[in-house]
């Protein structure tokens, strides 16, 4: 049983996609990120992805790079991540963590998993860890009952999709476009095809991320995926308009994921 299974049972039962919002912990400050994340949960995010600010975010575009830099400049330490996750969970939210692998490796994979689970976190999204290199994480996630969300990409072969989905739990993260994070006008035709290819290998829910920023796009993605993942757009709104900004966006997106029936996975 994945930790996120009940969440997706619920959203599937409601015939809609889940809304997943991303924000880096510590952005703009530790307390500030807690307020933003709570606002996102309150206004309609079914799940939040708490990002770990990292010095070398090779998968991120300018918006998330700048947010990570701000968080680090403002003194973010890895232990603050657990504070943020704990606060979100205490406020009734559900949280997974999205992190580049080196901070976890440095902290100790088992210790990190233990502390994340203790803080109420439900799993990890690992953009630069492939299952092939993930033996210690797979063991630690089992020991501490955390979900393992690996990524598939439009460039993934059938063989790799099979391997990646077999190693995943909770949901599978499908990167909609070949590229880095950042809001885009069009989510890209590759996304639907990738979701379809991935479904052939797994009954796990599939979340689509990279590029979504509007309610209309969320509706479009929710028509073929189980979850819509939104990152850069939340960071931008948070920067420009604080809690009110992220609440407004979460509200719009939450309406989006409800306006089109989700496919039966």
């Amino acid at each position: 049983m994945g930790r996120l299974d009940p969440l997706f049972e619920r959203t599937r039962g409601e015939g809609r996609g889940a809304l997943i919002g991303y924000l880096p912990a510590g952005f703009p400050t530790v307390d500030g990120s807690v307020d933003l994340l709570k606002g996102m949960v309150d206004a309609g995010c079914d799940l939040v992805e708490v990002g770990v600010p990292y010095s070398d975010p090779v998968m991120d575009g300018p918006v998330i790079q700048a947010a990570a830099e701000t968080a680090l400049k403002n003194g973010f330490r890895l232990r603050d991540l657990f504070t943020v996750v704990e606060a979100v969970s205490a406020a009734g939210g559900q949280a997974v963590v999205m992190t580049y692998w080196n901070p976890v490796h440095r902290y100790g994979v088992d210790a990190f998993s233990r502390d994340l689970a203790a803080a109420g976190g439900l799993g990890l999204i690992t953009p630069d860890l492939i299952p092939d290199e993930g033996a210690d994480w797979i063991a630690a996630s089992r020991a501490h009952d955390l979900d393992r969300i690996f990524l598939v990409a439009p460039s993934s072969s059938e063989e790799r999709i099979a391997l990646t989905t077999a190693a995943s739990s909770g949901f599978v993260y499908a990167t909609a476009v070949m590229g880095v994070t950042g809001a885009r006008d069009a989510v890209g035709g590759a996304a639907a095809g990738l979701v379809e290819r991935t479904r052939a290998h797994t009954s796990l829910p599939i979340g689509v991320g990279l590029g979504v920023r509007s309610g209309a796009q969320a509706a479009e993605v929710a028509s073929f995926a189980d979850a819509v993942i939104v990152g850069s757009a939340f960071v931008t709104r948070g920067t420009d308009a604080g809690v009110a900004g992220v609440r407004a966006l979460a509200g719009e997106l939450a309406e989006g994921v409800r306006s089109t029936p989700a496919p039966i996975g």
Partner: protein, 415 residues
Amino acid sequence: MSEQQAVDPRQDPHAQGRHDPDTKGHFGPYGGRFMPEALIGALDELSAEYDKARLDPEFTAEFTRLLRDYAGRPSLLTEAPRFAEHAGGARVFLKREDLNHTGSHKINNVLGQALLTKRMGKKRVIAETGAGQHGVATATACALMGLECVVYMGEVDTQRQALNVARMKLLGAEVIPVKSGSRTLKDAINEALRDWVTNVDTTHYLLGTAAGGHPFPVMVRNFHKVIGFEARAQFLAQTGRLPDVVTACVGGGSNAIGIFHGFIDDADVRLVGIEPGGKGIDTGEHGATLSEGTPGMLHGARSYLLQDEDGQTIEAYSISAGLDYPGVGPEHAWLKDTARAEYRSATDDEAMAAFQLLSRTEGIIPAIESSHALAGAIKLGKELGPEGHILVNLSGRGDKDMDTAAKYFGFYEES
């Protein structure tokens, strides 16, 4: 496999042998692929193409021809007796990679990867560069082979290596100054990876050092093994013996791994890598990754890394742009842990003293990167004494460094 074992690895740098990583690119606990899934397909494609090419006599012949007729190999082995007087009287020999076309060892790897790019049918090449030598070599090979070329270079480095920026532009490359992070080599690699993940269908990332996700470390090493193979034969021919020590500077580790592999099975030959000690190890401003770092992942492989308690990369510092990097290739991590190689550092001041010394005693102006190896050789010579025989990889020439040197030595104030 018996067919492959029949190849003498001394003759054939691409023969598979016991110093190769496992099939997933691991050198002991190092290497591998800590990369986004989106790039795994491209790494698989590159591995498959390289594995075919390394056993294909036509590929080897074409590569060898380019090294000879275009890059000017073999490069010379030059004894440096007047320099050696300052190195404890040991005999010092320089492997003259500075005499290669484009002025450094970088051209070896670039020609190999450019040939692979064509075999894969890709038309666009991206590269990172620190000192600009890899960028210039890449722009050169792209001009030669009709490939589009984009080079990412930290903004700090575009300033300290302005001459090389001009060379790249003249050769038809687009140079993109990178303004994120420390604005040096590490950030140029980040930006190149972002480009690659976006354009991977059409683009080859021509990585310039023996680091990154598999197959880059083993492939780049093999393209540079020619340095060590030539040097071993030349050393034997000139002295009738092998050196006591082979030394090279270590940024990402490509020139060092190339020359080390000529001697890796010669158990009596010490292999000593010299890292940038910057303003001194205790100042914290250095790039001595193997000497001072801890294991971690950066840019696709597990290796040593300069990082803080939280796993955030610590910015490196060196007067030399080509060594100013907080990571290092994974095979060096393995050679360190198994004690087959030793790693030390030389400070900016020691390197600049060696830079000036070689210029004034031998009439050879080395790259500041290579000057770190020369500074290492001065100390090694003093340790070994007059009986010692030292081989130094002179990885590049110093023309690109004239502005840095003129400032360092105060030439502009004198005139």
